[in-house]
Structure formats: structure tokens, C-alpha cells
Symmetry: C2
Subunit: 437 residues, 2 copies
């Protein structure tokens, strides 16, 4: 007999009833908001062909895939070969995000999907990260994406919908920050960085948010040639000063950076839609939240091609949502380029913050225990009371009485029961008692 | 560059928006019913330690587990060993049902759970079955379980709740059939079958439902000694005749079987609760569905210890739900025996039947397309209309106009839009048109 382990696999967790109830409530509130924009819920399998997962711009996620062993004869063959290649042992992997599956889904089902296609995905993803506090190896992502719209109306809908979803679940002190990957590309290219160095520069700039500009200096120097690193640091400081000065004329701001060979016509083409998005979203927000241009917002993923955005809780330094435009991703796997743009709510973080502020364990006014004595009471009559009490809008548990009734009642209070009745045969109406809480 | 496969892994599937919407609706209706009985939704990870999965009475499911490769150093070590043992390459597996995880969850979290603990689980399970029509390798199970009640009030709550859930999602022509595993054990033991042969006999009897008594004869003869097989076949025919005669005195029925050494006191102890459940559930059903004792109901799983039940759609030969009591399962992995009983809705079958009868693709009266011209219209004003129309209770998609507008409108009709408006600058109120359908 093998061992039975009562705990979940390392880094994964059991979700207790109170949290599961909150999660269901939040999911339904988010779905309600997204459906007002005609986003449609879809589902893809948890497993993907392993080659699909390993091919994409997944960055470090590629090393975190839970891989599934082949089965039957195919596996036997591999195991019998002289030199075993681990990659030949596996055929599927658990998805590490919802973007790769969405792109595959779109190409696979395009003929049956609306155009533009507006998708909601709420589902588990798996990453074999080193277990640490607050990071789980299975967690829920909550994404909306618009496929087939190149205009910035897509960005506006995504930002408006996501901000309204966060308002609906109870957040109200947050800020939407917006940038365009191409602005960063302009700066970094003007400083002489090669296209291979761009992705590294984005990842570096992405860290400024947490450690400040000075905080990335050492890494800049160790990653790039000293001259380039210094130029980058200097440019970032200038950019920071301009942002602090709060000059709303973005093109002029860029002019002041003194970059070589800056193409103002091209710059204008990027900045104008960005300004549109900021202005229009501000107007739609009705001051329920704020929006800001943040030229140092970089975001980690390699696949972004245009505008990028995040929502930050103001009181805490947390990002609640992130997203952006990724126009080249579908073209890479299909014979047709299709523009796409998405926004993802940090579902686990949202749930974590709501749990911290929740009135968890408070009595539920509808929750009633119908306690009977299995040795005495006629079960026919007891179960009839179940129906009666449900018809009175109580949620009812039928519970066999234990010897220590007071201990039993205390246990019910701890599980948010607010009422109970001890079944009494012959009573027309059962006596419903409130717990003295 | 590796291949990108646009289809899902073999036997798994993408769920299109119409079906996903139906699934969400059905889940919420089921949850609403179950919560009236204070069942609580819980979640467990999709992965379990592989030893947990391989240890239980999983029957043939054990050979269908998707196994997960170890990672990092642990894997490297195994791959470098002289003789590779496939079992050492893996540490986790995808769950093949929700019962093994539930039992682990209960033992792991007992101190924080209500007593009795009434769980709802709705989640994916994975089985590497040979792909075939209507069978998927990832599918949803929908279970309720009551842990901690030995009395038949648990069976009654489970049956009442599950039947009401099926009524709530739109089924009304079904029958609940009930039996007790111990009655089958009585018969088979009296015929001289050893306890090792019991499980095989259950699996055989379970097939009568599909192929009739005569249909299992050959398998009976090839599985058991000829004499035993014949005795079993004879007894099953007698039992069938008694059931057909519709004699409601169950104890008397058993007397007529002429079994050796039948202990009527023990028999009574099993039959009386069974009759209670039938009588009380009939009364709770208010004739919305029927209930029947079915002495040849066996159910496949090895772990049942008492009453077993199924719900069958009458018009079609399908089972919609199945369950039973499994009092020994928790005791096997913890130091304390705890009674348990569960009922599982065949979620995929329910969805399949509802899809067949659905009015899929009918226009949605709230679904509106706001079409604008990206080259002409001011996006500020267009997006303001998004809010206005949402406030009028429409679900709104903002859609850039294409050259072939009539083709575009036709595509919207196919995706259940019922209304559209072509944005017109300067109009106080936009003209909302109905699609002529």
C-alpha cells in the first residue's frame, strides 16, 4: 500500500467554503459587467500540445511548465530506447497562461466566432514556480480580449470594462496607467540598442516601478555595454523629471529628451491614439478612478506591439490588472495577421485583498439548522419540515442531534448559522430560535 | 521552430460561446438549489500526489491517469539512473474524479469544516480514455456529498436536492432508482460467492441495465465457476420476476427468493431505511418525478457500502445522476471512521441534452452593435454612446465599420445580435434598428 498524503501538492491549495463563495460571487459580478460589452465566455482545455506551449514568447514561463507523460505504447517505445530524451517522453503540458490557448482557439474556431471576437476567459493556469508565500502553482486568471479591431476603440473598451469590473467587486481607489511599447522602443533604439537588446531593456525598465530608477543601475551595467547603460540611465532620469513636471504635451516632452534622429511624424502617430485613450477613458470614468500616462511602464511579456496598460491600487503598491496590444501573435501561427488586444485582472490578488477586508464568518441570516433526534423523531415529519422551512426562504441543514447539544450548537455558530430549531413532533409550526451572538 | 497545432489535444475540446453561456447558467441554477440545503462549494487542485490517486478503489480509472513528469534535479537524477522506472519519473497526476480529492480535502481541513460537512464540487476531471464519440478526456463533474451523517436523512437530502436541481435546469421526465449494495451482497454471498468475487459480480450485474439478464450470461460463465454462474443467473431471473410483479413488500420478496441462511433480522435492518427513503422522497417529490426500488441496480465503483441510487431520464435510456453511501473510505486514510454519502450529476450529459433542445443562435434582445466609421467619426462621441446605450440596458459592442457593411450586418445576425445602430455624429439620439429576422 502506498502512502496517502492529506495535503495538496506543494504550492497548491484547498479552497475553503467561505473563499469559494467569495470567488463565485466575484466571478459572477465580473461576468455581469463584461457581458454589458458583449464579451463572451469561452473555455479551452487545461492541457495543450507541448509544442504549442514551448513555441511562444512565453519568456521564463517556458521553464515552469508541468509536463504530461506520454501513455501506452508510445511511452514504452521511448523508455526502451538506448538514450532517453526527456522531450520525447511528454506530449502535453498544463497551460501557463490563457493567451496562448486563446490564440489557438481563435485560429481553430474562427469560422464560428463573431467578428470582432470579444472573449472572456476565467480559468486555472499552472506554473511550477518555487513555492513561496502568496505565489501558487495553480491559480486563476481572468482575461478579456478583443480580436479583430486595430482601432483604439478596443483599448478603450478593455480599459472601461476592466475598471468597471473592479468597481463592481468593490475597489474604488485605483489608477489606470497607460503607455505604448513603441515609445520605449523609440528611446532605446535612439540610444543605439539593437533589436535583440530591446526585450532585455523592457524587462529592466519594468522593474523601476518596484525599485526606482537608481535600483536598476547595477543590473543595467551588468547587462549592457557601460556606455549604453549610462545613456539609458540618463535618459530614464530625464524622462522621470518630465513626468514629475506633469507636462501634458507628450510630443513636446519627447522633444525635450534630445534624442537623436527622432521621427516626429511617427511619434505623433503613436502619441495621438494614446492621448485619445486617456481623454476618452477619463470622460467615461466619471471621476470614479484616475488615468495617467506613464512612459516608464514596460510590462514583462515579449509579445506586446502597441499600447500597454495596468491598473494599480493607490493605497497599496499592487497591480490589480495588466494588458496590452499584441497584433503579431495570431499572424505567427496562421496565414493571416489579425490585430488583438487584451486585459487581465489579477484574480488571486483581487480575492486576497477582498478576503482581508471581508466580514468572513459573520452569521448568514438565511442559514438554519433543523436538528432532530434520530432515535425518537419520525423522519417523515422531519423531512417535511425541511421543505416547509425552505419555502420560508431559509437555507436548511437537517442535522442528527448529538449527545452534547451545546457543543453542537457552538459549532454551528462558528460556521455562520444564524438560526436553528430543535424538531418537535406534533408542533404545527416549529420554533425557530436565533443564536445569541 | 516547432509545429503549432491549432486543434486541442486529442479527445479534448474548445467550448464555444453559446455552450459556455449555457454551462454557466446551468452551474448557477444547480448552485442555487444546492445552497437551499446549505451545501457549500469547495475547490481542490487539479493535481493530486500520484500515490493518492493510485491507492484508492478507482477500478479501471487507475490506468487512465494523466501523469505529470517530475521537474529539475529530481527528474535529472531519475533519467541518469541505469534502469529507468517509469513510476519514478512522475510525482503528480490529474484527478480522475472528485471523490478521492474530497476525501483528502475533508481529512486535511476537518477542523475548519462544519459538521456535518455538505460539499458541492463542480470541476474538471481528466481520463486518458481512448477517444470516442461523446466521451471526452477532460470533462466536468458535479458532485454533492454529506460527510458525518450515518442516518438516512443524508440519502434523502441528496436525492431531494439532486432531483430538484434537475427540475431547475429543465428536466421533468425522470425516475430515481434506489437499491442497497448490501442486498446484492446478501444474495451473492448466499449463493456461495467469496468476498473477492463480490466486486466482479457487481460490475456484471451493473450491465443488466444495458443488455438485459440474458445479455450477461456468457460473461457470467466465463468469469465464475459454471455452477455459481448458473445459480446467479437463476437468482437474477427470479428477482426480475418479483420486481415485475411489483410487490411492494420487499422483505417478503426476499423470502420468496429461497436463499439459504437468509438472516431476516439483518435484512430488515437494511430494508427498513430503504423503504423510508423511498416513502419520504416520494412525499417530498410532490409527483414531479417518480421513485423506484431496483434490486438489480449495482453501480460500478467498488467503494459503496450501503444505499446506492441513480436518476434516469425516462424518454431516453440515459442515466442523469448516480451516487451512494461510502462509509469506509475516510477511515481508510484517517484514524477515524466517518460516514459519507454522495450524489453526482452527469454534467456533460445534462449539457448535451439541453443543447439538443436549445434555441441556440436565436437573437438576443439586448445584444446591440454600435457601428462607427473609424476614418470619419469622433471616437469621443462614439464611446459616449457606448455608455448611453448600456444605460438603456443594451449589451453593446463598438464595431469599426467595414467596406461591405451588408456582409458585416449578416455576420452580426449569425451571432445573435438583434439590434444595431450606425453611429451618426450630431444626432442627439442614435437610431436603433432591429435586424429584420
Amino acid at each position: 500500500m502506498t502512502e496517502f498524503t492529506v495535503t495538496p501538492p506543494s504550492g497548491m491549495r484547498d479552497i475553503l467554503p467561505n473563499e469559494a463563495y467569495l470567488r463565485d460571487t466575484v466571478v459572477n459580478k465580473i461576468l455581469d459587467v463584461y457581458r454589458k460589452y458583449n464579451f463572451e465566455h469561452i473555455e479551452t482545455p487545461s492541457l495543450e500540445n507541448i509544442d504549442n506551449l514551448k513555441r511562444q514568447d512565453g519568456g521564463e514561463n517556458l521553464s515552469l511548465i508541468f509536463e504530461v507523460l506520454k501513455r501506452g505504447e508510445k511511452l514504452d517505445q521511448e523508455l526502451q530506447s538506448d538514450k532517453i530524451n526527456r522531450d520525447n517522453l511528454i506530449d502535453y503540458g498544463l497551460r501557463f497562461d490563457l493567451t496562448v490557448p486563446l490564440v489557438r482557439y481563435y485560429v481553430n474556431n474562427q469560422a464560428n466566432l463573431a467578428n470582432p471576437f470579444k472573449a472572456i476567459q476565467i480559468g486555472s493556469v499552472w506554473r511550477a514556480e518555487r513555492p513561496q508565500k502568496g505565489r501558487f502553482r495553480q491559480f486563476t486568471q481572468c482575461d478579456i480580449d478583443i480580436i479583430g479591431v486595430k482601432e483604439e476603440s478596443a483599448e478603450i473598451e478593455l480599459i472601461d470594462a476592466t475598471a468597471n469590473a473592479l468597481l463592481a467587486v468593490g475597489f474604488n481607489d485605483f489608477e489606470v496607467i497607460v503607455n505604448d511599447r513603441r515609445l520605449l522602443a523609440f528611446i532605446v533604439t535612439a540610444l543605439g540598442f539593437t533589436s535583440d537588446e530591446l526585450a532585455k531593456a523592457y524587462i529592466l525598465i519594468d522593474k523601476i516601478d518596484k525599485v526606482g530608477i537608481e535600483g536598476i543601475k547595477n543590473e543595467a551595467i551588468s547587462t549592457f555595454q557601460l556606455e549604453k547603460a549610462n545613456a539609458l540611465m540618463e535618459m530614464l532620469s530625464k524622462l522621470d523629471q518630465l513626468v514629475q513636471a506633469n507636462n501634458s504635451d507628450l510630443v513636446n516632452n519627447f522633444a525635450q529628451l534630445g534624442l537623436n534622429n527622432l521621427n516626429f511624424v511617427e511619434l505623433e502617430k503613436i502619441i495621438q491614439p494614446l492621448e485619445n485613450v486617456l481623454r476618452i477613458c477619463r470622460s467615461l470614468s466619471q471621476d470614479k478612478y484616475s488615468l495617467k500616462f506613464e512612459p516608464m511602464l514596460a510590462r514583462g511579456m515579449g509579445y506586446y506591439t502597441g499600447m500597454i496598460f495596468e491598473i494599480k491600487a493607490k493605497s497599496i503598491a499592487y497591480s490589480l490588472a495588466g494588458g496590452g496590444r499584441y497584433d503579431n501573435m495570431i499572424g505567427k501561427i496562421s496565414n493571416r495577421n489579425v490585430p488583438a488586444c487584451g486585459f487581465s485582472i489579477g484574480f488571486e490578488r483581487v480575492i486576497g485583498l477582498l478576503l482581508e477586508n471581508s466580514t468572513n464568518g459573520n452569521p448568514d441570516l438565511n442559514k438554519l439548522a433543523l436538528i432532530y433526534n434520530p432515535e425518537m423523531d419520525k423522519l417523515d415529519l422531519v423531512m417535511k419540515e425541511l421543505s416547509n422551512l425552505q419555502n420560508m426562504n431559509y437555507n436548511v441543514s437537517v442535522i442528527p442531534r448529538k449527545k452534547e447539544i451545546s457543543k453542537q450548537l457552538n459549532q454551528l455558530i462558528r460556521h455562520s448559522f444564524s438560526k436553528y430549531c430543535i424538531f418537535k413532533q406534533g408542533e404545527q409550526t416549529q420554533l425557530i430560535k436565533d443564536f445569541n451572538i
